[in-house]
Point group: none
Chain length 182, copies 2
């Protein structure tokens, strides 16, 4: 990460207190609750933001944890009904990163997927991870108002915050769900 | 009201001091700030408590002030996205009565609506009205810890306290907001 990941990036981020040992949990051990879903993260985004999203996914997939990302253009099954694919992506993923840009706000598919995610788990702390990019606070969707978001000013810093959020969710999930092999 | 509305009902209720004339305010006069929102009260509840809630709403709507209640099962627009409806119910109502029961605590929609209400007005005295029923003080949501609640032991007494709370909020609102027709 370069020098651009400075503190100037306004990080509106919720410092959730972890249970003492959550950060010690190995999310990749066999039998981990992580493997109960096909993906760690579903990326919900407008196609106009594909370049940014590809870079984010590349970052997440190259981490030591090799986060498994669902990227619609790459991972959806050709021939499937689009909304079914969107729903399954939501259901088969632990976390949902919503890349909220001007394009997202105009895109009915994005709004649909956001609503499906909220309906799937209206109040599961940490599953929905809103990522704001190039939009004002006032344009933040009111449905997400009660959820802290990450504002991306500098990519590197933003990507790191996203990774930390996913990791934290998975650690808490694995901690609270007994391993199937122990 | 029968003899059951006795003083045995433990009323943990905040005796807020009113400005001298607040109780004299006519909340129903034309141009009153009351009419700036579609509803006086949004009832946030679990569907398992519908019978109790229906009775409460019936009580509130039959008062001389004819309090306008938003009751999701009755008043939501079919076909609307659920979280949008929940958000709009919060935004379009002056007060929010949270019927906190064992069902409420288990219900992610209820928790979502509670969080949206708190995000809308974290510290507006009197807008959020927690109503405890069949739960222990220890199960009271920590997010509401700084807000006095009404414990319903005897329905009639509880309903009266809820009505008084809504009325007080509306009177203070109308007193502090100049009438548009005067």
């Amino acid at each position: 990460m370069g020098s651009s990941s400075s503190s100037a990036s306004s990080s509106v981020f919720h410092p959730r207190s972890l249970l003492p040992s959550a950060s010690q949990v190995n999310i990749s051990s066999s039998g981990s609750a992580r493997w109960t879903k096909s993906y760690d993260v579903c990326i919900c985004h407008n196609q106009g933001d594909f370049e940014f999203v590809e870079e984010m996914v590349s970052y997440l997939e190259s981490q030591p944890e090799t986060f498994r990302c669902f990227l619609q253009l790459r991972d959806a099954t050709p021939g499937s009904a689009i909304v079914t694919e969107l729903c399954e992506a939501v259901q088969n993923s632990h976390c949902w990163v919503m890349v909220i840009t001007p394009g997202f706000l105009q895109d009915p598919w994005c709004r649909y997927q956001m609503h499906q995610a909220l309906a799937e788990a209206p109040m599961t702390n940490g599953r929905t991870i809103p990522v704001l990019k190039d939009i004002d606070r006032k344009d933040y969707p009111r449905e997400l108002r009660c959820i802290y978001y990450i504002r991306v000013t500098f990519k590197e810093n933003g990507f790191r915050q996203i990774k930390d959020s996913v990791l934290r969710y998975l650690q808490e999930l694995c901690q609270s769900t007994p391993s199937t092999t122990e």
